[in-house]
Symmetry: C2
Subunit: 146 residues, 2 copies
DNA sequence: GTATTCTTGAGCAATTTGCTCTACTATGGC
DNA sequence: GCCATAGTAGAGCAAATTGCTCAAGAATAC
């Protein structure tokens, strides 16, 4: 029930890309420097995210990474599932554990399932674009109050 | 972002106790047998839960474990926090990771914080008593349809 | 006092986390 | 075609966590 550094760093990187969406590829070294992510580790995460279809990458000079879709269509759920694997247990429920009294076991499995569904809808409500908007708002109000 | 065997086994054990609430102490061996939990491991978990104030334990013959509070007052949040530690990162945010651009970093920290709060309220909505009621309902309808 | 039941803490293999490093591949510009 | 610039792939690795087991001890009912 935690978010590992993958999810944290990964979201930072995607947020970085979201702020530069539509302005050409961003190099991993730039992301790493700005967001304070160990570059070797970030490269790994970027590959994972590309394989998950969240970003696209171009090699060679002037290459880099960019969001594969617009920021409004990428949710926290997408990010966390790509980086941390399926939420809660396995796909459905934990088949690796020893079961107990069937009625009780099934009931609890259901609870976990419902919980996962609820958490996923919760996560689906926040997009990368929401983060960008929040940042702009904040920048605006800071200006305002100075 | 997963629930480990601690949370799973722990909830099973508490559910077992909830179904026997008010009927005297239940021995760990009985819980282990019914719910299919390795007994040595279960003993560990029971101690953790006692230290968290969820159960009370009595030693000696006819000893055992019982809920410290009534099942309506014990929520999934209590269970998971006791067994899995604080939800999401540390207490507030992950101070172990390298920060990046302060505006971005603070924004993302906020997102994690809000997320944790939302997940906690979600978890707080289900109590052990809810599980017991669901089981009774289910048993009822099974009877009915046979 | 003795059988019963919880308590404490050590120990341990297997897995996961959080990285680093090396080698390779693709591409743009000259 | 050459070469500098990026991304890609995967091995490797120390440290932490997971999922347990086990042995020794302490409390209590009878
Ligand atoms: S595996 Fe946990 S209750 Fe089914
Ligand atoms: S530690 Fe992750 S953004 Fe702050």
């Amino acid at each position: 029930m935690r978010i590992s550094s993958k999810g944290d760093y990964g979201l930072r990187a995607l947020f970085d890309l979201a702020q530069r969406y539509g302005k050409g590829p961003v190099q991993s070294e730039d992301i790493a420097r700005r967001q304070g992510i160990p570059i070797n580790y970030l490269n790994q995460l970027l590959i994972t995210m590309r394989r998950a279809g969240l970003i696209e990458s171009l090699r060679g000079p002037q290459g880099g990474h960019m969001l594969a879709r617009s920021p409004e269509t990428i949710t926290l759920r997408d990010v966390l599932i790509a980086l941390e694997g399926p939420l809660l247990p396995g796909d459905g429920t934990r088949e690796d554990l020893i079961p107990g009294v069937p009625e009780d076991h099934d009931l609890i499995d259901e609870v976990w399932s419902e919980l996962r569904a609820q958490i996923e809808t919760l996560l689906s409500r926040t997009t990368l674009d929401d983060l960008c908007q929040r940042k702009r708002q904040r920048a605006g109000s800071v200006m305002y109050y100075i």
